[in-house]
């Protein structure tokens, strides 16, 4: 915690010019097509090229690059989940984050400022401590903080005992932090494009060509494209794609909202989350407070949610951080997240041969971007689940081997 000195507001470099071919048209065929040019799709394409030498790859995007949840999240990175399977994939991802900017040669503003999760009741303390010990068993860095230690790291937190949800302790993952989501997408896109990957925007998938249970290619608004293998990395639209390919997935698509304030002086140099009062907040490099709410309760593809969800979230934030009461919120937005019954991702094979799935990242996919791409690329390249991805196969809903991360995924996106 010695490095927890106040950061001053930093200037961002100019926006990049041309990192990939903006109006790329699809070729007739590819070895691999990835559906979805969000973070996970771009990372998958990059690792296919980098780790497996498969460069005849297209990433197909119905809108624009990183225009979905990759451009709509609160950028929190951590790996302090509960179960062994989660430690495996999320900590692998965090390790990749630690060298990512150097590897792809692109600034991503990855900042390991720590992630703190507050506990507000005796049972909350117990469950967070269970999580803390589980992290230790899995060699995931984790520290238990008293309320005074919380205050030391983040002086703006109200640790009074007299509030509705008093701070009774916290877990802290010093290696956790944030990155600048757009720049992460651009970095992966540039690195993938440099290795020969085609990134095709404004190209919506309208169907699959499947012969004898084996995928042969896709139908799109820019014509048919043949492929030996296809990976679906489409977040909230995974159910729509799976239904086109003739099977069901245990996913529900819900809006998840976030919001930013105007630019403020730096007052918070860590990430703070609280499941009980439903708030998570960090302060971006430029000075905006970045906050996330819970999901709206109903299924939706509308990329917006109810204002009462934001209201509820800000009420909680103002109690925990009284200084926020005067902050002006600048804008809110919603993304459509695909939530699995156990709040864990679904990665691997599908009932259709050579068609692969990477979905169900729900409310917390950003942190997993590198790890998700890594295991998806390996799964596609080898035609069988990568070791870290294996527990996340679709068949866990038949076997019953669920990976219940509702506690650790909860509000902690």
């Amino acid at each position: 915690m010695a490095n927890m000195t106040r950061r001053r507001t930093v200037e961002l470099p100019d926006h990049p010019d041309f990192l990939w071919v903006a109006d790329q048209k699809p070729k007739k065929s590819y070895d691999v097509i990835i559906i979805g040019a969000g973070g996970h799709g771009l990372a998958t394409a990059y690792y296919l090229a980098k780790n497996h030498g498969i460069t005849n790859v297209a990433v197909i995007e119905k809108g624009w690059l990183a225009g979905g949840n990759m451009g709509r999240n609160t950028t929190i990175i951590r790996s302090n989940y509960l179960w062994d399977e989660s430690a495996g994939i999320y900590d692998h991802s965090l390790k990749l984050w630690e060298n990512l900017e150097e590897e792809v040669g692109y600034e991503m503003f990855f900042s390991q400022r720590g992630v703190m999760t507050l506990a507000h009741s005796v049972s909350d303390v117990r469950s967070k401590q269970r999580n803390f010990y589980a992290n230790h068993v899995n060699a995931v860095d984790s520290v238990w903080l008293t309320p005074e230690e919380v205050k030391e790291i983040a002086p703006i937190v109200n640790i009074s005992e007299d509030i509705r949800y008093p701070v009774m302790g916290a877990t802290f993952q010093p290696r956790g932090g944030i990155a600048k989501h757009d720049w992460v997408a651009w970095g992966y896109a540039k690195a993938a494009a440099d290795l020969g990957v085609d990134i095709i925007q404004n190209c919506e998938v309208t169907g699959f060509k499947i012969v004898d249970g084996k995928v042969q290619g896709i139908k799109t608004t820019q014509g048919d494209i043949a492929a030996n293998k296809v990976g679906m990395v489409a977040a909230g639209h995974t159910s729509v794609l799976a239904n086109m390919a003739g099977f069901d997935v245990p996913l529900q698509s819900r809006p998840l909202q976030a919001l930013v304030s105007e630019l403020n002086e730096q007052v918070l140099d860590t990430v703070i989350m609280s499941g009980a009062v439903h708030v998570y907040v960090s302060q971006a490099h430029k000075g905006e407070l970045v906050m996330g709410a819970g999901t709206d309760s109903y299924n939706s593809y509308a990329q917006r949610g109810g204002f009462h969800v934001i209201e509820h979230q800000l009420a909680a934030a103002c109690e925990l951080f009284p200084i926020f009461e005067r902050a002006h919120m600048l804008r809110t937005w919603g993304g459509i997240v695909d939530i699995a019954p156990d709040a864990s991702p679904i990665i691997g094979l599908t009932p259709v041969e050579n068609l692969f799935i990477n979905s169900g990242w729900g409310t917390g996919g950003f942190k997993a971007t590198p790890g998700s791409g890594w295991v998806m690329a390996a799964t596609i390249a080898n035609g069988e689940p990568d070791a870290l991805a294996k527990p996340y196969a679709l068949d866990r809903f038949i076997s019953g081997h669920l990976i219940d991360e509702h506690g650790a995924a909860g509000v902690a996106h």
């Binding site: 729509v240 698509s253 309760s297 109903y298 939706s300 593809y301 009462h308 038949i398 019953g400």
Partner: protein
């Protein structure tokens, strides 16, 4: 905020309701003889359409009764709502 048409009380604010997900998911007949695949389908698979969806809501802060309603997941437009065990109106699509 949604304005949800309760078939008992009329349209009310969303904050008076809780969501009950897809409507008309019946408990499987012959449940003693279901395979694991069939159980997985009943327990975990729910339709997730982009478009019109028949779903359940409960008017928790109102009449406290469950009902079904058509709603479009693209634009949050509501279709007809209807009481349980009554004839399902056609999809507005």
């Amino acid at each position: 905020m949604l304005h949800i048409p309760c078939p008992y009380c009329g349209p009310r604010d969303e904050t008076e309701f809780h969501y009950g997900s897809e409507a008309h998911v019946a408990y499987p007949e012959d449940s003693a003889n279901l395979t694991d695949e069939e159980w997985a389908k009943f327990v975990f698979i729910r339709s997730n359409p982009k478009g019109w969806m028949a779903e359940r809501w409960v008017h928790s802060a109102g009449c406290r009764r469950w009902f079904n309603v058509w709603r479009n997941t693209i634009n949050h437009e509501f279709g007809p709502s209807y009481k349980p065990f009554t004839q399902q109106p056609k999809s507005p699509a």
